[in-house]
């Protein structure tokens, strides 16, 4: 089985799916002839033609608005927003049209679009190449929101997103685009949307994360194993729909929880998870659910290392929770 990076896995998936289904269309800024600034769509235009794979004008509002129309009329668009930081001109289209299309037309029309976009910090990207804006979309009913951590899940969940009847915002953790390598089967497979991965079993505390943060979490868990704390690590993979049974079962078992997220702490998705755990695991909690997140500031360039909730901070959050 070949080893792939996330980029390779995504590219491979797109090639496979485009060959399989001629209703697939992909477009975005520099995502046609150039293959995307991160090379995710490399080779697609050459193989499948300019009508199906093309460069758009510099207009995120247009990319999504256009995609909605394409989807309404029977094709399947996979559009790319070059950086999640630039998704906001498209926010009206996503929130008011894409998310509500099926609902407002009582199932006569739908906007089954996949919006792919690299998100997250750690590459010296400053305010505009580092944001994790998932929460802005999680607060909008009607959107499926996915954030993978590795190549195997990237292929499985992109395939599932393409199959999905719902609009999907597919966040790609740019920091680990190339640094995480895994074996990826060449045969077609899906990873179910809405199912978290129990990456590490443990008994003392539940650690929840997603995207690039998951690797920091695993690092913290391995460290703590040496110190006698047995951490159970959950990788959500899908943010909405949230795998409630998995997180509830885990926290009912361990009685403690830390949620880690790069995004600013206030209104990070971790707040919703914490509220859910409070509701559903109240009697099992031996300590408050702790959230290890970014600060409530724009994502800084130079002080990025200080800002991010790395393995070291996660470890301390776990220790604090164990000692509560």
């Amino acid at each position: 089985m070949p080893e792939m990076t996330i980029i390779q896995a995504l590219n491979h998936t797109l090639h496979e799916e485009f060959a399989r289904d001629d209703k697939l269309i992909s477009f975005g800024e520099d995502a046609g002839a150039f293959g995307g600034v991160f090379r995710v769509t490399e080779g697609l235009q050459e193989k499948f033609g300019e009508e199906r794979v093309f460069d758009t004008p510099l207009a995120e509002q247009g990319i999504v608005g256009f995609a909605i129309g394409v989807a309404q009329n029977g094709l399947k668009p996979i559009c790319e927003i070059q950086f999640a930081d630039y998704i906001f001109p498209a926010y009206d289209q996503i929130v008011n049209e894409m998310a509500k299309m099926r609902y407002r037309t009582a199932n006569q029309y739908s906007a089954s679009v996949v919006v792919r976009t690299p998100a997250g910090g750690g590459i010296h990207g400053g305010h505009y190449h580092s944001q994790s804006p998932a929460a802005q979309f999680l607060h909008t009913p009607g959107l499926v929101v996915i954030c993978v951590s590795g190549p195997y899940d990237a292929k499985g969940l992109l395939t599932a997103a393409i199959e999905s009847n719902d609009p999907v915002i597919f966040f790609e953790p740019k920091r680990i685009y190339r640094s995480v390598k895994e074996e990826v089967p060449l045969e077609r497979y899906t990873v179910p949307i809405g199912k978290a991965d129990l990456a590490r079993q443990g008994t003392d505390i539940t650690l929840i994360g997603w995207g690039a943060q998951h690797h920091q979490n695993m690092e913290a868990a391995e460290e703590l194993a040496q110190e006698g704390i047995d951490v159970e690590v959950l990788n959500l993979r899908t943010l909405n729909p949230l795998d409630e049974p998995a997180i509830i079962a885990s926290v009912q078992k361990t009685g403690r929880c830390v949620i880690a997220d790069e995004a600013p702490k206030t209104m990070s998705f971790s707040a919703e998870i914490a509220a859910t755990l409070m509701e559903k695991c109240f009697l099992s909690l031996e300590a408050p659910v702790e959230r290890c997140c970014g600060l409530d500031t724009p994502f800084p360039h130079t002080l990025e290392h200080e800002y991010l909730p790395d393995a070291y901070k996660v470890r301390q959050a776990i220790i604090d929770t164990m000692e509560y």
Binding site: G126, Y128, L295, P298, H301, E306
Partner: protein, 360 residues
């Protein structure tokens, strides 16, 4: 519709007789020096990035004239909204090389405290509004800012720079519309440099360039040779007069070419022909102005050598100084999010200091 391109100084440095505008020698010389400084500084910054010393760099290679000549035609009270490929405006208005390089190092002496990526220059003192990465977002800002000037009855204008790619963004449309309807004294300066990262103009719009869009918005529109110091200078000067007279906004489309990569993260050999570059190198704005100046006996080989030496020395010193400056303080992390940091933010900073007790 046919929109003529204003051009006076050809690539060989010959000034057309149809040019009625007299540019003072000292302006031309300062313009030339500033363009040279910009180009050299850009190259040095890229080298630093390739050495891993700074994280990112861009260059305005080939487009220095768009920035410098337009800045030369304005007054210091005029506000400027750059996109990111106009570093020359900062040097024209007097930003020190050390100040610029400290910003590129994103260190403690960076005027924006290391918060944004390098190449996001700006200075309130110089009336240059700090760059931000998203494309086109400044266009409506410029319109509003100009309108405020009008309301306050100030005899000044705003200039907003952007590439041709920005004309595809919704912000371009709304910015022009608002400016047109409110008759805001703003000059929309579009550097049509042929590419938006890898996207050529043929994939960017259906119109013939950006100028027709100005006409479509009911705005006075000019098209100029962006590498021609005289054409740019004269047109911006004219545009400024229009604005100050209350005639409304102006769109200038400057035809030019991006000789370098989009940024240090880009490799243009992957999407364009070297031949094209070499063709445009011959139209280089610095080269043609130098040739003109030499013809006018205002410049020579010795002066050139002296200039390049002094520029290199200045940049060397700025880099050496910047290397010694520490990163921004931890406290700066929560400043300026709001006018005053909130209690929540103070708490978060306090928690953060647990992990970094040595840092201030």
């Amino acid at each position: 519709m046919k929109i003529p391109t204003v051009a006076y100084l050809d690539p060989k440095g010959v000034l057309s007789r149809s040019c009625r505008t007299k540019i003072p020698d000292k302006v031309l010389l300062k313009g030339y020096r500033t363009m040279c400084l910009t180009r050299h500084n850009d190259e040095r910054m890229i080298t630093l990035q390739r050495q891993g010393t700074i994280s990112f760099a861009m260059s305005s290679k080939g487009e220095e004239c768009c920035a410098v000549a337009s800045a030369a035609a304005l007054k210091s009270v005029d506000w400027m909204y750059p996109q990111y490929r106009e570093a020359g405006i900062a040097f024209w208005r007097g930003m020190s090389v050390e100040g610029y390089v400290n910003h590129m190092f994103c260190n403690r002496n960076d005027i924006i405290k290391g918060r944004q990526m390098p190449n996001h220059f700006g200075s309130r003192a110089l009336n240059i509004v700090t760059v931000s990465s998203p494309i086109g977002t400044k266009i409506p800002h410029a319109a509003g800012s100009a309108y405020a000037m009008k309301v306050k009855k100030e005899k000044s204008v705003v200039i907003c720079y952007f590439g041709e790619g920005a004309s595809s963004e919704g912000d371009f449309h709304v910015g022009l519309t608002f400016a047109a309807v409110r008759k805001a004294p703003v000059i929309f300066f579009c550097r049509n440099n042929g590419y938006a990262i890898s996207t050529p103009t043929t994939s960017q719009f259906g119109s013939e360039g950006v100028a027709p869009e100005g006409i479509g918005h009911g705005i006075k529109t000019f098209r100029v040779d962006g590498n021609d110091f005289f054409a740019v200078y004269e047109t911006v000067q004219k545009a400024r007069e229009e604005c100050v007279k209350g005639k409304g906004p102006v769109l200038i489309e400057a035809m030019t070419y991006r000789l370098g990569a989009h940024s240090t993260s880009d490799d243009p050999s992957r999407y364009r022909d070297d031949k094209e570059c070499r063709k445009w190198e011959k139209k280089c704005p610095i080269l043609r102005l130098r040739t003109y100046l030499e013809k006018k006996q205002l410049w020579d080989e010795k002066k050139e050598e002296k200039l390049q030496k002094s520029i290199k020395k200045e940049v060397d010193a700025a880099i050496a100084a910047a290397k010694e400056v520490p990163p921004p303080t931890l406290d700066s992390l929560i400043e300026d999010v709001y006018f005053e940091p909130t209690p929540r933010l103070r708490e978060q900073l306090h928690e953060l200091k647990r992990f970094f007790p040595g840092d201030e």
